[in-house]
Amino acid sequence: MTEDLLRISDLAVKFRGTPDGALAVKGIDLAIGRGEVVAIVGESGSGKSVTAKSIMRLVEYMGAEIVGGRAALSEKSGGSIDLLTLDETRMQGLRGDRIAMIFQEPMTSLNPVLTIGQQLSEVVVKHRKIGRAEADGIALNALQQVRIPEPERRLRQYPHELSGGMRQRVMIAMAILCKPDLLIADEPTTALDVTVQAEILELLKVIQRETGMAILLITHDMGVVAEIADKVVVMLKGEVVESGEIHAIFNAPKHEYTRRLLDAAPKLQARQEGSDQKERAAETPAAQDKDDANVVLSVRNLVTRFAVRQGMFQRVVANVHAVEGVSFDLREKETLSLVGESGCGKSTTGKSIMRLIRPNGGEVLLQGRNLEGVGASEMIEMRKRIQMVFQDPYASLNPRMSVEQIVAEPLRIHRVGSPSEIRDRVHGLLERVGLTRAQASLYPHQFSGGQRQRICIARALALNPKVIIADEPVSALDVSIQGQILDLLAEIQEEFSISVLFISHDMAVVERVSDRIAVMYLGEIIEIGPRDAVLGSPAHPYTQRLLSAVPIVHPDQRRNRTLGARELRSPIRPPGYVHETPPLKAVGFEHYARMA
């Protein structure tokens, strides 16, 4: 075994103002060898991020204090220093030099008013005591090392001029400037699209190999762990519940919680072996013959564009072609998933169907009734039959309304029943989604994220809709909570005969819930078909790229991926641009794709 670079023993961290017994990190042990990749896995509140920031002693700036333990960092000269007792000045000398860190949110982790070059070279100037010009050279080198196109230009750019993936590359460049012994990566890919995540993980692997630095990776995603880690530490509620070598953890997880985390990871490659929960769609083609009678929602050539305006007279200088020629049918009790990366138009499609955004063209037929021509009063009637569940359960509930008021509001607006009937219905709904009658008088902030999403589902169910549009309904939730919410959605879908349009970027979730999948790219559906066909034999190159970017299930399946950063293609077109959406070609049973 390699020599330990960092050995943490009995680390205990407490947030100020919490009772003495309530520790965020409860005496954990952890060792990282030179050049090793160690992953700490856990969900929100597990203390994984606090542990990482304790090593850097950054928790002290977050209102927390380290109340016990040691973190011995070995010195080049032999011997070791305890990071937890070092004074602030010496600690500053280590940060960014021997230990560097990258964070989850590339969008907000860079200073918006300083150029990339300024932010990079200040690190070198601080730690290497050299001039600006020389520091700029080192910064340029680092940008080249993280494979950013046009690195010279980037130095003069500001963060807002770069995409999320580019910014995370800049963060990595910033971290490797002084060739640290240890890189702490706190959820480095969580905020990124799956194809960008694959690029960043690959980049981290390559740079780790090139520089021989150790990486401490903080993540909630077992797929990411499988891609990159040598050792795994599983944390739950401030404690280490299991740790070991990666193959041991993946092949023979001992703790029940580890098994749960492993179950939540996507299993695209393993699906042929048949670990399925939902075979309905594939096995009962009789239920989906071409009879239109069971089509609940039909979307035809939907087009939504946003005008980009400029100048004194707010002239339209370009259009964002957010949704272009999108057509699909949603059948009774079916779950159709719209998948794609951020900016592909999947959410806009959902909102256009709901007419929360006015589409520029196309038809939406709800149970055969065209929503285009209906008047305002009739639209209110139609809205009863189609409801929406949003991504962020923290933002989509009015904080000043009680749960009862929230769930009753649609009933009141649509004047369904007397006050006592409404009350009974609200209580029934709350119990149906797994909450209690007693919780009806509480306010949203008194609930966890998962419970809030249950409230949102109850609200959506209140009017007995035929269709629910669920826009990333579990993306803001921990994996173990995700499972519960998805199960709940499946149950009510069966019970109330609801069709679900499921909008998501997360392949693991899509795989689990879908009957059929539609893949969106630059505003268009480029492939649509039964789940197993799309996931098992993707026809369009973009679908193939999307699927190959999904993290692997098991460390044995590691493979090399493309490394270069791709410029994002933009759906912005000049005015008057005629958008061609050629029809999809059949590539299998009910499986269609855009073929060149």
Partner: protein
């Protein structure tokens, strides 16, 4: 940038037009006849009629307004009833006095309030922060006229250190170039006049600046504290930056955006809000002039002054927008 500036300046034309209409209407609705101010009580009806026609007050209101607009476009706001001088000359003569007062007050307020705010934010809930907050609240809450009178009593009266009012000691005879006495004194190389101008400025600047210092301090503190919670501050700390660099180079630069907005707004209110202070210190500025105009129902003077105030506000806002683009690269004008 140039196109944007021109558009913004052009955009002020309708604003000024609306304001002039509003002011004209308000002045017409106000009780009292301006002719009363122009003639003695014993004047005969013939004299009154002659005066009325000489000043154009016998015309229908819309004609009066159109005449006013026509002249105003040429930079002529008419004759002041009281001073019997062109309004424009009166304003131009006194505007530098008000601007000089406002600029020095702002400079002092920024020089004290900004560092104090950052200092308080860097040590939240410390003694510095608590004392600073209390002082800031005092600064915001102390009424101008009261503080002014108190300072006059103390420094001009009891200690006899500073002049109690006015801009300059009579008889220094420094050549007027800019109208800013401190600058004119430097141009003329008259150090005695510079010292005299500064002595006159001291008390009114303290009174005007106290309020603004308090506000700038509080806003800076809140804005820096907020920015210290941002992710990029954590990044800066993780890079090994010292507390001072994190505070000034990272958090403060971002906090400045909110602070500049407030400084601009406050500067605007200083120019117009100085009316009380100018009265207390007999400061020959446009605030003092406005007060005189109102008490004599000097319609042309009031209208002209309000239009000048409006223009100043628009220009200040424009200047702030320009400064934004320097401080925050995300803001592009166009």
């Amino acid at each position: 940038m140039l196109g944007y500036t021109l558009r913004r300046v052009a955009g002020t034309v309708p604003v000024l037009f609306m304001v002039s209409l509003l002011i004209f209407a308000l002045v017409q609705l106000a009780p009292g006849d301006p002719v009363d101010m122009l003639v003695s009580d014993e004047a005969t009806e013939e004299v009154r009629l002659a005066i009325r026609s000489a000043w154009g007050l016998d015309q229908p209101i819309y004609v009066q307004y159109l005449t006013f607009v026509k002249n105003a476009v040429m930079g002529d706001f008419g004759q002041s009833f009281r001073y019997r001088e062109p309004v424009m000359d009166l304003i131009l003569e006194r505007l530098p006095a008000s601007l000089e007062l406002a600029i020095y007050s702002t400079l002092v307020a920024v020089a004290i309030g900004l560092p104090l705010g950052v200092w308080a934010a860097s040590r939240p809930n410390s003694l510095v922060d608590t004392l600073g907050s209390i002082g800031g609240f005092f600064g915001i809450s102390l009424p101008n006229f009261w503080l002014g009178i108190l300072l006059i009593l103390l420094f001009a009266g009891t200690f006899n250190l500073l002049p109690s009012g006015g801009r300059e000691t009579w008889g220094l005879n420094v050549e007027r170039v800019t109208g800013f006495l401190t600058i004119d004194a430097i141009i003329a190389g008259r150090w005695d006049a510079l010292w005299d101008a500064l002595r006159h400025l001291t008390l009114p600047v303290i009174v005007l600046g106290t309020n603004m210092t308090g506000i700038i301090m509080q806003i800076t503190r809140a804005s820096v504290l907020e920015n210290l919670q941002e992710d990029y501050v954590m990044t800066a700390r993780a890079k090994g930056m010292s507390g001072r660099v994190v505070l000034w180079r990272h958090a403060f630069r971002n906090a400045l955006i909110a602070v500049i907005t407030i400084i601009g707004l406050e500067f605007g209110t200083l120019i117009s809000g100085a009316i009380i202070v100018e009265t207390v210190f007999a400061w020959p500025g446009i605030g003092y002039l406005l007060l005189q105009g109102i008490s004599f129902r000097d319609f042309p003077l009031i209208t002209g002054l309000v239009l000048v105030y409006t223009t100043l506000f628009v220009l200040i806002n424009l200047a702030i927008d320009m400064i934004y683009t320097v401080v925050d690269p995300r803001i592009r004008l166009g």
